[in-house]
Amino acid sequence: MADNVFTIPTGFSVLIMRLHQINQLDYPASLETTWQNSLQAGDQVLLIEDGFLKSIQYAEKMQTLIKEKEITLYYLQSDAAAYGLSPTFGIALTDEEWVELTFAAEANISW
């Protein structure tokens, strides 16, 4: 699994698949770049709070990210209802499914 994975000197040779929790519409530019660049194929991205609005305002950019980085994108049904807005892509989660996804991830990072 880790054969051709580049590793930094931490000694870790395995990339841990993770769920990235994104809670802002706009991060400061350099942080926006950092979280997007840190995505690894197979990672999951969950939009919460203001982050949900990325699926509306930056719909195209997010769809490109999904394809290029080979990630899966999720958002919460309750956020869509709160804002009264419906994304045209991504997977909507009930609160219970949100818990399942979060617990099931190998690792979690909250950006």
Partner: protein, 130 residues
């Protein structure tokens, strides 16, 4: 499998405490033993104020967390250093600093970061809300 929640965002400046509340309700509903403890750090410690009075037409977030603690017997820890500097102080600390007032709400407790390390080592994962 048990999990820890780490909350770092201010109840006024972020949605961390609100979102984590939605999360913990759904988690406990699904499996009542899934959360071992909740640790509040940085500005999130402001949630533990017994004095804050939200307007009557808004959610009382401190009270909502107290209900979680009471009904599910889940400890709510505030980082003591972060809390004391932000004015969230229990009776003991109040005496220690020779103050007349104390502000820590019931069901919240002041603990060092060592308690977070302990939760880290005795639960499967830490889920952060910021």
């Amino acid at each position: 499998m048990q999990y820890t929640l780490l909350i770092t965002g201010s109840p006024y400046h972020s949605k961390a405490c609100h979102t984590a509340l939605r999360f913990i309700r759904a988690a406990l509903n699904k499996s009542p033993d899934s959360i071992k403890g909740v640790f509040f750090y940085e500005d999130a410690v402001l949630i533990g104020s017994q004095v804050a009075q939200p307007p009557r037409d808004e959610i009382n977030l401190t009270q909502a967390w107290q209900e979680i603690a009471e009904q599910h017997n889940i400890p709510l820890y505030l980082c003591i250093a972060a809390a004391v500097r932000r004015g969230i102080i229990n009776e003991g600390e109040s005496r220690r600093y020779e103050l007349e007032q104390h502000t820590l709400a019931e069901y919240f407790q002041l603990e060092g970061l060592g308690t977070l390390v302990d939760l880290m080592n005795t639960t499967n994962k830490i889920i952060q809300f910021r």
